[in-house]
């Protein structure tokens, strides 16, 4: 076993490296990902080691990047596209929704599109609209796409490799404000032994209430659980990891035990993932619920200016306040 302490960003970099080593059909494409290593340096050094035909710098053309990935995938390549920031995915939205998501269905399964679209998402870095957004619900709403979000270095390392190995197109969300957070990564464990990609994971078992999160909010949820542990309140924290398809069996198991559930995400509450998850929990666990499933989410506004960001983003207090409210019913 080779356990290393890596930042989430470096774990992704190592995961991409492993994928490039393992399969010559894996290609990376994106704006300034080669020489510069990407704005967040996630692809740092990869062009140097794998050449500019496998780690491809593209012009500013998001639609073109994702669209050419479709053609490459039809011909057997496994393209990994980097979108520089969440808010820049929209020029590619047409290609993702109209082509990437539908080609397999349209061809009655004749062509597979093993494409990964990496998107750094979420706020907390003092940026503004277009640079701090959480657009995952648009993609989770679209049949034909799979959507995942990693939350820690170890998952980042394995999930990116699993996503690249997947035969379905995957929109891969990376919690940009957690890129610099460190954690232990076993870089030699075989991928086959890793937690499955499309499976949620209980990160902290607890008896009293279930807190669900994904991406950047997982850390917030864990911090909330730690904060109330001394007061004798025992929160179970589950990292959803896969947003489409959702894996809610562990969630149902948990909620049937706790009777209380709070779901946390940065994206606006209206029409967000939390709404879908709450609906399903209600359908499956209605008789066991002590309170409605509550959402702690961004407000239904465009992402605000940096100095309002702390108000906008769910934080530990808002999570704990929601947990308290589940006791008020």
């Amino acid at each position: 076993m080779a356990v290393e302490t890596l930042t989430l960003g470096k774990a992704l970099n190592n995961g991409l490296r492993r994928a490039l080593e393992r399969d010559p059909k894996v290609l990376l494409m994106g704006e300034d990902i080669g020489k510069l290593g990407g704005v967040f340096r996630i692809t740092d050094g990869l062009q140097k080691d794998f050449g500019d035909e496998r780690v491809i710098d593209t012009p500013l053309a998001e639609s073109g990047i994702v669209g050419t990935a479709v053609g490459l995938a039809i011909r057997g390549y496994r393209p990994v596209c980097e979108i520089q920031f969440d808010g820049f995915v929209y020029p590619a939205f047409d290609q993702i929704v109209s082509q990437v998501a539908k080609m397999h269905y349209r061809s009655r399964g004749k062509v597979r599109l093993p494409i990964v679209i990496r998107i750094p998402f979420g706020g907390g870095i003092g940026a503004v609209e277009h640079h701090s957004e959480s657009p995952e619900a648009y993609f989770a709403h679209t049949a034909g796409l799979k959507v995942v979000a990693c939350s820690n270095p170890s998952d980042a390392y394995t999930m990116i490799q699993q996503a690249i190995a997947s035969d379905d197109p995957i929109v891969f969300f990376e919690p940009k404000r957690r890129y610099w957070e460190k954690g232990e990564v076993d870089t030699e464990a075989p991928l086959s032994a890793a937690h499955p990609l499309h499976a949620a994971r209980v990160l902290r078992p607890g008896r009293d209430a279930t807190v669900l999160a994904y991406g950047p909010m997982v850390r917030t949820a864990l911090d909330a659980a730690t904060a109330v542990a001394d007061d004798g309140r025992d929160l179970e924290v589950i990292d959803l990891r896969t947003l489409s398809p959702l894996d809610l069996e562990p969630v149902y198991d948990s909620v049937r035990r706790t009777g209380r559930c709070v779901i946390v995400h940065e994206a606006p509450s209206s029409g967000g993932l939390g709404a879908e998850v709450a609906a399903r929990i209600t359908e499956k666990c209605f008789s066991r619920l002590e309170a409605p499933v509550l959402r702690v989410a961004g407000f239904n506004t465009p992402y605000p200016a940096a100095r309002m960001e702390e108000e906008y983003l769910p934080d530990l207090d808002r999570v704990l306040d929601a947990v308290d409210r589940t006791y008020g019913w």
């Binding site: 510069l36 012009p59 640079h131 200016a305 100095r307």
Partner: protein, 336 residues
């Protein structure tokens, strides 16, 4: 002033005019130099894209436009905003995120906006401003207004699909759009020849049926003259015009950019053609400027910046309760 008026202007008028162009370029440069300090002091947060080196484009182009004309800009827009006439204190307050800023502190560096000067915004999406510029021009054309919409964007934007849709629309409908491409040779870390098969951007525009020329973007007088001629052409109803300003940014793409993709010597070489130095040299040569006048100008600009900083420091923040305001119209508009 029309092109003809300018050519016929008396020497004193000409000297005054040059002084004004110099003043605008210096205001932009000193303003941004102060912004760098304020950024280090974390007074300004988020993204900051500097225009230093490119000042001749904003100063020269804005001088050739009228108050009725419309401007559409990018995230590298401090120079456009200041030269257009948005008050410096209002731009600085916006940089600070204060409620007195031209976008109420919501936009910050990349999203300066001011309807009063018809400055329809910085825009953080590369290429994002072009379609709306075409729409503004279409509205002007329908209303028979002799108004030009000047749309600024970089060489990088030329690779985006929106650019191509918009040039075609503008040419097809003979719209009064002045496309102002600031070709500074780089889109973030990507040099133009690594992103474009045809690097002559004016030639690309010509292929869509636009009148197009390239302009020495380091020469403020050339910028002004060419913009004036192009604006007259557009205003006269001859359709859109494309100006490719060949320019250069001295600083990194943004405050986060390590600037690893170009040689220091290349920057130094462009600095030899600095637009401010060039105009100062020329004005001195023509006895239009002396040391005293330059010192006075420097002092005046420093005072303007100091006042803007102080006002921004003292200005209030938008109240947190307003976070959810302006998502939708607050009062019924005239057309319901």
């Amino acid at each position: 002033m029309t092109t003809a008026d300018l050519a016929a202007a008396a020497p004193t008028d000409r000297a005054e005019h040059h002084y004004e162009l110099l003043r605008q370029m210096l205001r932009i440069r000193r303003f941004e130099e102060r912004c760098v300090q304020l950024y280090s002091a974390t007074k300004i947060r988020g993204f900051l894209h500097l225009y230093i080196g490119e000042e001749a484009v904003a100063a020269g182009a804005m001088a050739a436009l009228t108050p009725a004309d419309a401007i559409v800009s990018t995230y590298r827009e401090h120079g456009h905003a200041l030269a257009r006439g948005i008050a410096m204190h209002s731009v600085m307050a916006e940089m600070y995120g204060k409620a007195t800023g031209c976008s109420r502190g919501r936009g910050g560096s990349m999203h300066l906006f001011d309807a009063a000067t018809r400055f329809y915004g910085g825009n953080a999406i590369v290429g994002g401003g072009l379609p709306l510029a075409v729409g503004l021009a279409l509205a002007d054309q329908m209303a028979d207004r002799p108004v030009v919409t000047a749309c600024f964007f970089g060489d990088g934007a030329v690779a985006e699909g929106e650019f191509h849709e918009c040039l075609n629309l503008a040419a097809l409908w003979h719209l009064p759009v002045l496309f102002c491409c600031e070709n500074n040779l780089y889109a973030m870390g990507t040099r133009i020849d690594r992103a474009h098969a045809v690097t002559n951007l004016a030639a690309r525009a010509a292929a869509y049926g636009l009148s197009a020329v390239d302009v020495d973007g380091m020469d403020v007088l050339a910028v002004e003259t060419q913009t004036r001629a192009a604006a007259e052409f557009v205003r006269a109803g001859h359709g859109p015009y494309f100006l490719e300003f060949r320019t250069y940014r001295y600083r990194a793409h943004s405050m986060y950019d390590p600037d690893r993709y170009r040689e220091k010597a290349e920057i130094a070489q462009w600095q030899q053609h600095d637009p401010i130095d060039a105009l100062v040299r020329r004005m001195r040569g023509d006895a239009e400027l002396d040391d005293d006048a330059l010192a006075r100008l420097d002092a005046e600009i420093a005072a303007e910046i100091d006042a803007a900083v102080q006002a921004a420091e003292e200005a209030p923040l938008e109240p947190i309760e307003d976070l959810t305001r302006f998502v939708y119209a607050e009062s019924r508009s005239h057309d319901g």
